[in-house]
């Protein structure tokens, strides 16, 4: 278990530039580095692993500066996106490879291989070759091989990218369990929002070589620090702010947004009102929908609006409901399928939208 810290880490690889990355991962934490393709996630973990040397900045494992240390000296387990299982070796030999390099005795090797195959439920695969394994099996074998040498830090590069949806859900749970069982610090690269929520203790959002936001998943998703983070984490209701009028009691503020078509009452009791906010962000799962009746009297100051359903998309357990008010403000809500029957959701249906003032985040 190790704390990982990077200080002003800068690396240029061809056209790609990773700029002044300051990352802090607590010991025993499962940290997910989230970002779109080409953001620099793989380069960053490869730099932490020691595969690339930075132009400037440092990498610390606990308090030890390992910036100039070679990959094999850092005590890091690495699972690349394609797993890179040695195709000419059986599963058993793949897992035992690192132990044999360390000249472990045959007994030690056998015992450790058994421990890991039991933990990862792959004991039936020992004599198989990687070419004959499914995506999920390869992922477990690669994980067992990396864990065999008891690394201080485990780097997982999109470990679930090559498995189907149902396997991914199961493996997310297992990854979390293995991490708890071994206590190893994990840095996990992903571009998948659901995967991140399922496994992360902490999240870092990387975009165009910049680390934009790090924090607990709920901080990153519900209190993003930039418009990109809000958009990337699918906070679909993002409105440009025109004016902000703080209330004298300093507990609320009235925000005019979306070209003054939208008036929102925002809870600022926790003191989070930024000096000059530009956007109001409301996550779609925090938008409440209910059937609107013709006699409904809606007071905008209560963050309630009448809108018409434009589109309903089935997302499995949730329905994504896109609506628009008469003056053109677009709202997106995620509604559990179990509630959708009561709402009779269909195109053109009039619905009432309600927002809690504490669910509005200004940035």
């Amino acid at each position: 278990m190790v704390t990982v810290r990077t200080e002003n880490l800068t690396i240029r690889l061809g056209e790609f530039h990773l700029q002044r990355i300051n990352l802090h991962v607590q010991a025993g934490e499962h940290f997910v580095l989230l970002g779109p393709t080409g953001a620099g996630k793989t380069v960053l973990i490869e730099c932490i692993a020691g595969m690339h040397h930075p132009q400037s900045g440092n990498v610390f494992l606990d308090d030890e500066d390992v910036t100039t240390k070679r990959l094999e000296e850092r005590g890091i387990g690495y699972v690349p996106q394609d797993y890179a299982l040695f195709p000419n070796m059986t599963v058993e030999n793949n897992i035992a490879f690192g132990l044999r390099i360390r000249k472990a005795s045959a007994e030690e090797v056998a015992q450790r291989v058994k421990e890991l195959t039991d933990l990862l439920h792959i004991d039936s695969l020992l004599q198989r070759y990687p070419l004959t394994l499914s995506g999920g099996e390869k992922q477990r074998v690669a994980l067992a091989r990396a864990l065999a040498v008891r690394p201080r830090l485990l780097l997982l590069d999109e470990p679930l990218a090559a498995v189907d949806e149902s396997t991914r859900d199961r493996l997310c749970g297992e990854l979390k369990e293995i991490q708890r069982h071994t206590g190893v610090t994990v840095i996990h690269v992903s571009h998948n929002f659901e995967e991140t929520l399922a496994v992360a203790d902490s999240v870092g959002i990387l975009h165009n070589g910049h680390l934009l936001h790090t924090g607990k998943p709920e901080d990153v998703f519900y209190r993003p620090q930039s418009r990109f983070v809000a958009e990337f984490t699918r906070a679909e209701n993002i409105f440009a702010i025109d004016t902000v009028e703080p209330h004298p009691d300093a507990r609320t503020a009235v925000v005019l947004a979306d070209e003054e078509r939208l008036q929102l009452s925002v809870d600022t009791a926790n003191g989070e009102l930024p000096p000059s906010p530009t956007c109001a962000v409301i996550r779609p799962e925090r938008v409440r929908l209910k059937m609107s009746s013709p006699e409904s009297e809606i007071a905008p100051s209560n963050n309630c609006f009448v809108a018409r359903v434009r589109e309903v998309t089935n997302k499995g357990a949730l329905l994504r409901v896109e609506t628009a008010t008469d003056d053109g403000t677009r709202w997106v809500a995620l509604v559990p399928v179990s509630l959708s029957a009561d709402l009779l959701l269909q195109r053109g249906q009039s619905v009432e939208i309600g927002i809690d003032s504490s669910d509005i985040h200004l940035l």
């Binding site: 890179a84 040695f86 490879f97 690192g98 390099i101 091989r145």
Partner: protein, 286 residues
């Protein structure tokens, strides 16, 4: 559109497809046929009768002891020199090909072009250049004093090495390019140093490609003619390898001996190519 018109359009489309395929395959088979005809001509010619003696050229060849001895000496000289060359080429080509495949080198394009040059320049020019280097430059003369390569059997290896190594590097680079570099990165994360990662992970994966590359390098060295003749000489029983022996026989009017050596070399080339294909060698050799 009526159904008749539709049928006509479909038929016109099919006709164009057929014409296109016929064009491709006729040219392909014409060339393959040309190669076969040229190869068979040698064998068929040996079966023809000499108007002077009434015996077949093959019989004449089989009963000529001097030709047998000369060909046998040239055969073993070719086999052994090509073997030594291919081993030396491997020793140079494995690290060189690995470096070209794995690292970003300064002036990579210049280095790449220089490596291709011995393959592309006319073989005679390669021989003359070797002769100039070892006879006319201070470094070359010193090396020749040390190794004694000009007009000697060692010179055969040097002449073969000059061309075959470039060829070997190309073949092995293609092999290393096909091996995922992440295998080595993972091996290093598991505790291997760079050399051990290369030796324990990449080399076993490159084994088949290395064998195929080595065999084709040997075949290429066997076939070298002009650089050997210019640089090592063409003395029978001394520096005359198989192609040189074929040329000497042709020049002195021993046509049946020249054709006999030619058939032998074609059979050897066919065998090595079959082994190469069996080992999964791909079309990266030229």
């Amino acid at each position: 559109m009526s159904s008749n018109q539709e049928t006509n359009t479909m038929h016109a489309g099919e006709g164009r497809d057929l014409f296109f395929r016929a064009l491709l395959f006729s040219l392909l088979f014409a060339y393959v046929g040309f190669i076969l005809a040229v190869l068979c001509a040698d064998v068929l010619w040996l079966g023809r009768h000499d108007p002077g003696t009434g015996k077949s050229y093959l019989y004449k060849l089989a009963t000529d002891v001097e030709v047998w001895e000369e060909t046998k000496a040239a055969f073993w000289l070719s086999v052994v020199s090509a073997f030594v060359t291919s081993i030396l080429a491997l020793i140079v080509a494995v690290p060189a090909a690995y470096a070209l495949s794995r690292f970003r080198l300064p002036f990579a394009k210049v280095i790449d072009t220089l490596i291709d040059l011995p393959i592309v320049i006319p073989p005679l020019i390669a021989g003359i250049s070797l002769l100039v280097f070892f006879n006319q430059t201070a470094l070359g003369v010193k090396l020749n004093d040390l190794l004694d390569v000009v007009y000697t059997r060692r010179g055969i290896v040097v002449a073969q090495f000059f061309v075959a190594s470039a060829f070997c590097i190309r073949a092995l680079k293609a092999t290393f390019d096909q091996i995922n570099p992440r295998f080595e990165m993972v091996a290093r994360s598991l505790g291997c140093g760079p050399f051990r990662a290369f030796w324990s992970v990449s080399m076993p994966l490159a084994k088949t490609g290395l064998m195929a590359g080595w065999i084709m390098t040997w075949a290429r060295a066997m076939g070298e003619f002009a650089p050997i003749m210019v640089f090592a000489g063409a003395t029978p029983f001394h520096t005359a390898v198989l192609p040189v022996t074929a040329f000497l026989n042709l020049s002195s009017g021993h046509i049946e001996a020249a054709v006999g050596v030619t058939v032998l070399m074609i059979v050897l080339a066919g065998l090595t190519l079959s082994i190469f294909k069996k080992l999964g060698g791909q079309g990266y050799l030229w």
